[in-house]
Subunit: 260 residues, 2 copies
């Protein structure tokens, strides 16, 4: 069993180090991660510039690969041949900060899992609901090990990955784990306009952190309530509710295109 | 009625110009687009650097806004207050190149529509299935006008946007429009390894364009067959099939976390 580990905070981040040590108890691991921080990079793959690959040493002395590409690029480079041994599972994380609800479309951590899914590999993204860079990643790494072991045991349907979010608690304070759906984040972004020293305006997109729907089957609720949230995610974003009530739409589209 | 238009190919791209002229026949339009090309930027919002906004002039003499941010940033800047008039609908495009199947998670064009959806606005992403920079965008702009008019007439459920892909045909050769689901792209990426003049390796991620499932209800099929593909998309990527068969997973997770 061979697990590839990536992230978007960079190859030398503590979240990745702790995760790779924890998963080392389950399987052989290879670390292949970006050389710098790609937070909020979304799911992007580099097609217009060449990618470099370096061999680096982690803080605990183990060897790893890094690249100037994104988390998606690292997964592609590793699985397309830079890493010679076939990969059985990809784990991305541990991210500093949760990836919940529709925020996963922004997330570089989740993008690593998406790239693996598109390549036909099972994948797990892991995030800790805490932005403190001094956070203790050990409870989240232990939770990730438990979830990954179950995923290896039960398997994942093709095209589905797991998005795991862990509350910032010591292991004994974590209540349990719940299978959840993605909740809906409620944003309160505000525009902050300032003037630079030459009097020209510039803008920050700021505001309070998003709140979330309180529904007790969502990822947002579970993490707030002290559970590890495990959300099965697929790449098919089709809104089937509209598709199943399609007659009106199809009729109007057909009429309009006939009338041209 | 006030339509905001953005894209990811940059404010001076011909696809955006043609689209904004066409939609000008339906409503007042404001163009607010990136100053440079963000293709394959994914859905990212800029939080760690200040954003500039410039007033620019389009090739037909109309005024527009541009920013150093992504398509998502342009939508956020416009709707959070840089554009004073409230926006009723956001249209992103016309992209040079289709955005089909799971590729939409990569797409800056689609990211503009996602950002609008998160902000609670109806949105339409428009792409032309042609990478030729000399392509004629007029048929796609006319198709977009027809679809946007129907979206305004019928409304869109909250949280759902439309992903529109147009075949590279003259208007009279387009067969009609179809409401579709996202198909599954099949990738054949390959790794190309080269040596730089100093003998150091670098890599390109290359390979043939992806093929697609031939199912006749998919976006991939529709565009290949000469139809305008209109796919309703939502932000909820939960894999409900796994969630609905959750007992085994929940049992194993509960057991494992009890056993710690």
């Amino acid at each position: 069993m061979h697990i590839l580990i990536t992230n978007d905070d960079g190859v030398q981040s503590r979240g990745l180090l702790t995760l790779s040590q924890s998963l080392g108890g389950l399987a052989d691991v290879t670390v292949f991660a970006p050389s710098h921080n790609w937070s909020a990079a979304g799911h992007n793959k580099t097609m217009h510039k060449p990618l470099r690959v370096d061999e680096v040493t982690l803080a605990d002395g183990r060897a790893a690969f890094s690249s100037n590409g994104t988390p998606s690029d690292c997964v592609a480079l590793a699985t397309l041949g830079v890493v010679e041994r076939a990969v059985d599972l990809v784990v991305s994380g541990i991210n500093s900060g949760a990836n919940l609800g529709q925020d996963i479309t922004y997330s570089g951590t989740v993008a690593g899992a998406m790239e693996a899914t598109i390549a036909g590999l099972p994948a797990v993204a892991v995030s800790l609901n805490c932005h403190d860079s001094e956070a203790d990643f050990h409870p989240a790494a232990e939770a990730a090990r438990v979830v990954v072991a179950i995923a290896l045991e039960l398997g994942l349907p093709r095209g589905v990955f797991l998005n795991v979010n862990v509350p910032p608690l010591q292991l004994e304070a974590i209540r349990s784990a719940r299978l959840t759906r993605l909740g809906r984040r409620v944003y309160r972004d505000v525009l902050v306009r300032r003037l630079d020293p030459r009097g020209r305006p510039y803008y920050w997109i700021g505001g309070d952190p998003p709140s979330g729907e309180p529904d007790p089957d969502t990822d947002i609720w579970a993490v707030d309530a002290g559970f590890v949230s495990v959300t099965p995610v697929h790449m098919d974003m089709t809104a089937y509710t509209l598709l199943h009530g399609r007659e009106t739409w199809e009729t109007r589209l057909a009429e309009a295109f006939r009338a041209r």
